[in-house]
Amino acid sequence: MSVETRRNFGTVRVPAGLNGLLPALILIMLFFVVPVLALLLRSVTEPEPGLQNYAALLGDGTYARVFFNTFLVAALVTIVTVLVAFPVAWMLAIMPSGLASIIFGIIILSMWTNLLTRTYAWMVLLQRTGVINRTLMTIGVIDQPLPLINNLTGVTIGMVYIMLPFMILPLVGTLRAIDPMTLRAASLCGASPFQAFRRILLPLSLPGVAAGGLMVFVMSLGYFVTPALLGGTSNMMLAEMIAQMVQSLLNWGLGSAAAFILLVVTMALYALQLRLAGARRMSGGI
C-alpha cells in the first residue's frame, strides 16, 4: 500500500479526495442509510423482537394477495408501456431532429405536470359518466358504461401514462444508435419488414427495453397515488397497504417489514439487470 502510494507519488490524491467527499458521505449515511437501517430495526422489534412481522406478511393469504397483485400490476404496466413506447421511440429516433426535439419537449412537459392533476384528469375521463364512456354511448358503440375505473384497467391506463416517458427516453437513445442502413441491408438480404424487426431491430434495442423496463417495473412496484385513486379495493397494491398499516392501524412494525421486503425485491431485480447487462458486454455484443 505504502509502496504503491510512493511509486505514484504526486499523482495519487486519494486521501485529499476522500476528505472532500466526507460531507457527501455523511449526508448519504444520515439521510439514506440510517433510515433504511431504522426501518429494518423497526420491522424486527415492533411490537416485540422477532420475525413475526415477516411471518405474518409472507404467511397470510390476504397479504400474499396484495404482493401478488403488486407484481401483477407492475408487470402489466411494464409490458403495456413497452408496447406503446416502442413505436413512439422508433418514430422519434428516425424523424428529423428538429421535430423530434419538439415532441420530446411535449413528453417532458407532461412529466413536469403535477402527478395528482394528471391522475384526476384520468378519473374525469374514465369514470362511469366520464368523457370516454359518454362519447362511446353517444355514438352508439356501447349501451352500458364500460368499467374503466376502480379496477385493474383504470390502474393500468393511469400508470402506463405516467411511466411512458421513463420508457421512451432510454429507448430512443438505444434506437438512435442503430444505423438505419443496417435495416436496409437486412431488407436487401431478403428479410421482410417483420423479419428485419424480429431478427435485427428488436435484438439491437433490447438493452434500451431492459433499462427502461426495469425502471418502469421498479417504479410501479412502489407506486401509491395512481393505484389509490384509479384502483379498486379488490386490487390493492403494496404501497397502499403500507399506508393503511401505518396510518389507520398504526402498526409500524408490519408496515416497515412490508417496505423492507419491497426494497429487497427491488434491489434483487436491479442486481439481476446489472448482471445481464454485464454478461452482454462480456460477450462482446452491443
Binding site: D179, M181, T182, R184, A185, A186, S187, L188, C189, G190, A191, S192, P193, Q195, A196, R199, I200, P203, L204, G284, G285, I286
Partner: protein
C-alpha cells in the same frame, strides 16, 4: 434480338424541386463490372438506390431480364449490396451475418452451413466465423459484407463506395479481392465511386455521371483517350486546358491559333466550331515530350519547377499568357539539369490533343 440483362430506362428522380437524376438510360450485359463514376451529388448513388429499391424513381424504369423491378419491394428483389459504411449486424457473429440472407429464405441447416463455409472461404475469413463484427478491422468487415451479399447467389451485386472508409493500402488490397471475386463468381457488379483510379482499376466499363446525367459510357481507355466532353477529360486523369482560337477544320482535324500566336494543325475537334471561335485545347500532362519528333507540335513555355516522381518527372511550366501547364515526361526522357527557370519548347502529338468549346 437479345435483350439486355439489366436495363435502366429514362430514370428520373426529383426530391421536391431538386432533381438528383435527370435522365439516365443504360444497358448492362450479364457478368459486366460497371462503375458509376462521378463527383458527389452527380446522381450515381441515387441511381443505385433506385435499383436497390430504397428510393422510387419519379419516372423511368429498371428492367431485369425485361421484367420491371419497380413494383418489387427491396426484400424480394434478390439483389446483393455492399454499403459505404459497415452494415453488418453487430449482434450476430460473422458466420451468422453471412447466414442471415439464407435463414430468412428458410434454407435447410445443411445448405446454410455449406454456403457460409464457401462464402467465408471466398473472402478468406474462415478463421473469423465465430467473431462478432466489432472485433474485426474495417477491411475484414467489408469482406464479410461482401460474403453476406453474395451468399444467396444474387444476379446483381451493388456496391456503394464500399472502400471509401478504408485507408489506401487496404483499399488496394480489397480492390484486388473484388476483382478476383468478380472473376470467380461471374456476378454482374454495379459499383459506385468518386475515385477515378478505383474506377479505372476495377471496371469493364465506366458510366461517368455529371449533374444527374451520364456524360459518357465506355471502357476506361475510351474515357481517357477519347473523352466525349471536357468534363470527362477533366475528371479522368489529369488535363491541361489551354485557350486557343479555332481557324479551320478539314477532314476531321482542326487548325488552331494559340494565345502566343503560334499555329497548330492536326488536333482533334470535339464538336464543330466556326472560324475564329474561342476554344480550349486539352493536352494530357504525359502527352508532352521534351524531344521533337516528325509529327509533333510545339509549345513555348517557361519552366518554373521540376520535381522527380520516380518513373516520371513533374514539370510546372508557364505559357506566355501566364497560365500554368502541368507536364509529366518520363524521367528517362530528360536529364535533371536545367532546374533553374528557363524558356524552352515542349512537344506533343496533336492527334492526342482535343479541342473543346470554351
Amino acid at each position: 434480338m437479345t435483350h439486355p440483362f439489366l436495363s435502366i430506362r429514362n430514370l428520373r428522380k426529383a426530391f421536391g424541386a431538386i432533381v438528383a437524376v435527370h435522365d439516365v438510360t443504360l444497358d448492362i450485359p450479364r457478368g459486366e463490372f460497371l462503375t458509376f463514376l462521378g463527383p458527389s451529388g452527380s446522381g450515381k448513388s441515387t441511381t443505385l438506390y433506385a435499383i436497390a429499391g430504397f428510393q422510387d424513381p419519379s419516372s423511368g424504369d429498371v428492367l431485369l431480364e425485361e421484367k420491371s423491378l419497380l413494383a418489387v419491394p427491396s426484400h424480394k428483389r434478390n439483389i446483393g449490396m455492399v454499403f459505404q459504411r459497415y452494415t453488418l449486424f453487430p449482434h450476430l457473429t460473422v458466420a451468422e451475418n453471412v447466414a442471415f440472407p439464407l435463414r430468412v429464405r428458410r434454407r435447410s441447416d445443411a445448405e446454410v452451413k455449406k454456403k457460409v463455409a464457401d462464402m467465408l472461404a471466398l473472402v478468406r475469413l474462415e478463421s473469423f466465423a465465430g467473431r462478432l463484427p466489432g472485433a474485426l478491422s474495417g477491411g475484414q468487415q467489408q469482406r464479410v459484407a461482401l460474403a453476406r451479399a453474395l451468399a444467396y447467389d444474387p444476379p446483381i451485386l451493388l456496391m456503394d463506395e464500399p472502400l471509401s472508409a478504408l485507408d489506401k493500402k487496404l483499399r488496394e488490397e480489397i480492390q484486388g479481392e473484388i476483382r478476383r471475386i468478380h472473376r470467380e463468381t461471374g456476378v454482374t457488379i454495379l459499383y459506385v465511386t468518386h475515385d477515378q483510379e478505383e474506377a479505372l482499376h476495377l471496371s469493364d466499363r465506366i458510366a461517368l455521371f455529371k449533374d444527374g446525367r451520364i456524360e459518357q459510357t465506355g471502357t476506361g481507355e475510351d474515357l481517357y483517350l477519347r473523352p466525349a466532353t471536357d468534363f470527362v477529360a477533366g475528371f479522368i486523369g489529369n488535363s491541361n486546358f489551354l485557350a486557343a482560337e479555332h481557324l479551320d477544320t478539314i477532314n476531321g482535324t482542326a487548325t488552331i491559333r494559340m494565345t502566343d500566336g503560334s499555329v497548330i494543325s492536326g488536333v482533334r475537334p470535339n464538336g464543330t466550331f466556326g472560324k475564329g471561335q474561342k476554344t480550349r485545347l486539352m493536352i494530357r500532362p504525359e502527352a508532352f515530350s521534351m524531344e521533337r519528333s516528325p509529327a509533333s507540335a510545339e509549345l513555348n513555355v517557361e519552366i518554373v519547377d521540376i520535381a522527380f516522381y520516380g518513373e516520371r518527372r513533374r514539370i510546372v511550366a508557364r505559357i506566355a499568357a501566364g497560365q500554368e501547364v502541368d507536364i509529366r515526361p518520363t524521367s528517362a526522357a530528360m536529364q535533371s539539369q536545367g532546374v533553374s527557370p528557363c524558356s524552352r519548347q515542349v512537344f506533343f502529338d496533336p492527334a492526342t490533343a482535343f479541342l473543346f468549346p470554351a
